[in-house]
């Protein structure tokens, strides 16, 4: 099989225009699928040599992450660790070292697996997907980028070049949690990203997204509505979690896995919410106490 190694986005887009191509963006999924002959392509366009796609650009108010940024690069970025801990957390808990070294955030999104860890986080961050095509650049909100299991809204000769999102400002915080079958090298059974914005102690905006609980990551509206207006330290997280559980159960219906997932999603949500609250509070206030439980 032929492999092209373009050195610019324009060249890559040009290659995509001429035939049945697959984009190689790390290859941790694609190579296996090709080996098993589940995916067929006339040739591959490997983005490995396009330096600009590997950049993480952080300004005072916004972040641009290139589509070829690896999970290792995200996990090794000290500013992201400080300012966007949910993204950092997600990156370092995905797969294991070897996978993180090769896998890219753009590849993870375009592969569009229901369990993709980066999807709920980028959605919660309200990221924009920057897309380059033969007619130029366009921007697609992350929430509208995925079109189903293994599907995106990308046109056949378009290339995802990166993600842009605002840096969380004062009173804002984001948290991510996932549940897998082991502590590394595990596909998420459930993942959850929560972003909240508070004024004083009052939550004025909440975004809750779950992964692995549907064909794509999904927004959990009822839970968001519940969180809005509540006191950040006083609200009943159990009640929020029960709402989420019901919302998920309604969506998944009678699937066998729901018996477990409806319970487990509560725990995953609570952890993500707790982290989001910690993120909000870390600069402003001392410990507001999630009570330390006892046996």
């Amino acid at each position: 099989m032929e492999i092209f190694l373009p050195v610019s986005v324009e060249e890559a887009v040009h290659r995509l225009e001429s035939g049945k191509a697959k984009v190689l963006a790390g290859g941790t999924d694609l190579i296996l699928a090709l080996q098993k002959q589940e995916v067929h392509a006339d040739y591959l366009v490997d983005l490995d040599r396009i330096a600009e796609l590997r950049k993480i650009a952080i300004s005072d108010s916004s972040v641009i992450v290139g589509s070829m940024v690896t999970f290792s690069a995200l996990a090794g970025n000290p500013i992201l660790k400080d300012k966007v801990p949910a993204l950092w957390d997600m990156a370092r808990s995905m797969g294991a070292c070897q996978i993180q070294n090769r896998a890219t955030i753009g590849g993870n999104i375009c592969n569009a697996a229901p369990a993709a860890d980066s999807a709920p986080v980028l959605m919660a961050l309200a990221a924009d997907c920057i897309v380059m095509g033969p007619e130029g650049e366009r921007v697609i909100p992350m929430e509208g980028f995925l079109a189903g299991k293994g599907k995106t809204v990308l046109r056949s000769c378009e290339l995802l070049t990166g993600f842009a999102f605002g840096l969380p400002g004062p009173g804002e915080g984001c948290g991510f949690a996932k549940l897998g079958k082991r502590n590394a090298l595990a596909i998420s059974t459930i993942s959850c990203a929560v972003r909240i914005k508070a004024e004083g102690r009052r939550i004025i905006a909440a975004d809750v997204f779950t992964g692995s609980l549907g064909p794509t990551a999904s927004r959990e509206k009822n839970t968001e509505a519940f969180l809005k207006g509540k006191d950040i330290g006083m609200l009943d997280t159990e009640q929020a979690a029960v709402l989420l559980s019901e919302e998920v159960e309604h969506r998944l219906g009678s699937r066998a896995s729901i018996v477990y997932k409806r319970v487990a999603v509560k725990g995953v949500f609570k952890e993500a919410f707790r982290k989001a609250v910690e993120d909000v509070l870390k600069e402003s206030m001392p410990d507001l106490g999630e009570g330390s439980g006892s046996k």
């Binding site: 477990y260 319970v263 487990a264 330390s292």
Partner: protein, 743 residues
């Protein structure tokens, strides 16, 4: 008082460490020979069927050299460790998915893989049964002979019925253990080639080269002298390399083509090719007096043997013998059954039947303690085996029974250690302990013999011969240390030869936790004899020189002996003590010696996701004597990891006899990030009959892990997990099962 020991008891570096960490060790897949060709196996895809095979299209494929099927087997078309009930290639009747149908040999591996798809197999589907409890019914489809029950072990002691009447507390439950895979690192592989004299040589990672030789010779219709098995480096075994896989296919192809032939299984094929751990269905009832004295136990164990016997009889026997746990119970009735089904065949796996039963008996100990409001440690101490105790089979435990010490050590260590980080919301922590015993050796009167030889070499070293396989457990190092100790030479003066059936005597299998004890004894005796001979000869040489000789090097001694036409060499055999139990009552002394252990565990459970993290493990392990303490710790850590993995993660997803999760992204085993801190406590109580007191530990180190974790989960959550694995789903079900709607 400790005897003065020079080499035994020291943590010598593994003799095979350098070659393994530098990548020099030769595993079968590393071997390449001139003119080598490649084989690929076709396996059955239905669990119960009659087949007809058409290999013409595969034979006609360019590059294909041979397509071997049942009609090509020169000798007996069978093999098997107990019964010869495996076919080399199916002769028509298929009893499970994964049975070999054909072996396609081609110029390249790619051609062989491609041509395998061209072998046409027509299946006429036959009725099948997948649950051993159903297979026991009289109307179930039969696999072999006129009953699917291939073995029934009966253990009878005292009067159980009367005894339960006078018990103050009785606990009763059903337990189910999952079918699991050995998941060793190195999938099966091998190379075979012909020597000029017509000897067929098989290079393979096996646990028992001498038995392989016997089976290969029988299938090939050759005398054993014409078959030579060379053991390569072995990438883990755990019982999964006791049954034949690649050996006979390779030997047949090499003989037919007169060229070296290689095969390497993929991980997916490895899951199909070797045995599995017996899933067991255990009904158990235990009764005790008010003061905590155990008084009665009744149990029924049903083990799923799958489609072939392998070691099913020995495993279900071992399960029955160990059903009481390491406790004195005067009234016991156990019925243990091995049953054929159309599932993948099950066989030897670390613990060998004694691994499943602690999941039942140790949880019942905690339940009795809770009901009687007695501390779980006190209950165990009140009933545990000590020197002089009688087991349920009526065997007197004469010595080396340091169970009480292991229990106290584990309980003390786990009670004072505690996770110090504050508990997060939604999490609960708990602690648990468990104790086990394990009878080492083949057992039940089966001759358990290890032969060994030792000779002085021209270089003044001692070459020791024993057909004992290094499967990763450290046998080469431990056996060399024993030899050095017995010879009173340094470890570097011992050269152990253990890889070639042409050079080594039969030292039995690397299984049953028997190599340190059994082959260690054989080597110790051979080396002590040689040492005495060396001393006598030194005296002789010295006398000839008018007793002027103060010291003579071993090199000079060799020269002096050769000059006289003498070879300084010794041989020995050691046979373990074992006797056959009574068929009706199961009374007797099946194993010797027994090894004991007690583990303590702390876990943290998420009460919503059910995810369990083991935070800490303390493992107090009786070893008799530690020949190499660091290797003992390595065994303990590996054993705990394997036990933890089974408890929390592992299960073969079986659907009508088909394993669904045949890779490591779906078959979950732990990573380094899942492992807790493990504190090993080595408890020594030398056993008189053992080499320097050392008993086998390879299997015992795993057994207490499962129940200790389950007891800790119960302590944390109140949920009793009776079905393995204790997955997040099982734990959530156990916690909320009855009040699901209330969530």
């Amino acid at each position: 008082m400790k005897p003065m020991l020079n080499t035994v008891g020291k943590s010598a570096f593994r003799v095979d460490a350098r070659e393994k960490v530098t990548g020099k060790a030769l595993y079968p897949s590393d071997i390449v020979m001139d003119g080598m060709v490649y084989g690929c196996t076709l396996r059955s895809e239905k669990p119960s069927a009659e087949i007809t095979v058409d290999k013409s299209a595969a034979l006609a494929y360019p590059g294909v050299l041979a397509v071997l099927t049942a009609e090509d087997v020169p000798g007996a078309n069978h093999h098997g460790v107990l019964f010869k009930d495996h076919e080399v290639f199916s002769s028509g009747r298929i009893r499970s998915i994964g049975e070999p149908v054909a072996f396609v040999v081609a110029e390249t591996a790619a051609i062989a893989r491609q041509a395998v798809k061209l072998v046409k197999v027509e299946y006429k589907i036959l009725p099948a049964v997948f649950d051993p409890r159903e297979a026991m019914q009289s109307d179930a489809p039969l696999l072999h002979g006129d009953s699917n029950i291939l073995y029934h072990y009966k253990l009878r002691r005292g009067d159980v019925e009367k005894a339960f009447e006078v018990c103050d507390v009785i606990v009763e439950n059903h337990y189910e253990t999952s079918m699991v895979d050995h998941a060793f690192l190195q999938p099966e592989a091998g190379v075979a080639y012909m020597e000029e004299d017509g000897t067929v040589v098989i290079l393979v990672a096996t646990q028992y080269p001498h038995f392989d030789r016997e089976e290969i010779a029988e299938a090939l219709g050759l005398s054993q002298e014409k078959v030579r098995v060379i053991t390569t480096a072995v990438g883990g075994a755990f019982g999964g390399r006791e049954d034949i896989t690649v050996q006979i296919h390779l030997a047949m192809a090499a003989m037919k083509l007169m060229r070296p032939v290689k095969t390497v299984y993929t991980r997916e094929e490895s899951f199909l090719a070797h045995s599995k751990r017996h899933p067991m269905y255990i009904k158990c009832r235990t009764g005790a007096k008010k003061d905590g004295t155990l008084y009665a136990m009744e149990a029924e164990i049903i083990g799923d043997a799958g489609a072939h016997a392998s070691w099913a009889i020995n495993i279900l026997r071992k399960a029955g013998v160990h059903m009481t746990g390491p406790y004195v119970i005067p009234n016991v009735k156990v019925d243990s059954y091995a049953v054929y089904t159309n599932n993948p065949f099950t066989g030897a796996m670390r613990g060998f039947g004694a691994a499943q039963v602690p999941i039942a008996y140790e949880q019942q100990m905690d339940e009795i303690a809770r009901k009687l409001n007695i501390n779980p440690l006190e209950l165990r101490l009140k009933n545990c085996f000590r020197a002089g105790s009688l087991t349920a089979t009526g065997q007197l435990l004469e010595e080396s029974v340091p169970l009480e010490r292991t229990l106290r050590a584990a309980a003390q260590a786990i009670s004072r250690s505690g996770e110090e980080a504050p508990l997060k919301a939604g999490k609960k922590r708990g602690k648990g302990i468990a104790a086990i015993f394990y009878g080492t050796g083949y057992g039940n009167g089966f001759p358990d013999v290890s032969r060994a030889a030792a000779e002085l070499t021209e270089e003044g070293k001692v070459r020791v011969f024993a057909g004992a396989t290094e499967v990763g457990q450290g046998a080469k190092t431990v056996l060399s240390q024993i030899a050095a100790e017995a010879l009173e030479v340094s470890l570097s003066d011992v050269v152990l030869v253990c890889e070639d059936t042409r050079l080594t005597p039969d030292s039995g299998t690397a299984a049953a936790s028997r190599q340190t004890y059994n082959t260690g004894n054989g080597i110790r005796i051979a080396c002590e004899k040689l040492r005495i001979e060396l001393q006598a000869f030194t005296a002789e040489v010295s006398e000839a020189q008018g007793n002027l000789l103060k010291h003579i090097s071993l090199k000079d001694l060799y020269q002096a002996a050769i000059a006289k036409g003498r070879l300084l060499r010794s041989e020995a055999a050691f046979t373990a003590r074992t006797s056959r139990m009574d068929d009706e009552t199961g009374q007797g002394a099946p194993y010797w010696p027994y090894t004991f252990a007690a583990y303590g565990v702390e876990v943290e459970v998420d009460i919503e996701t059910g995810k369990t993290d083991v935070l800490k493990a303390v493992c107090a392990q009786d070893v008799g004597r530690a020949v190499n303490p660091v290797l003992v710790e390595g065994q303990i850590e590996g054993g705990f990891a394997m036990g933890m993995s089974w408890t929390l993660h592992e299960e073969l997803g079986l659907e009508e006899g088909r394993i669904k999760n045949r890779n490591f992204s779906k078959y979950i085993i732990p990573t380094a990030l899942d492992m807790p801190e493990i504190e090993s406590i080595i408890v020594e109580d030398p056993e008189t009959s053992a080499p320097y007191g050392a008993k086998g530990i390879g299997e015992p180190v795993m057994l207490a892990a499962m129940p200790a974790i389950l007891n800790a989960i119960c302590d944390a959550t109140g949920a009793r997990i009776t079905r393995l694995p204790a997955s997040p789903q099982e734990i959530v079900k156990a916690m909320y099962g009855k009040e699901r709607k209330a969530l």
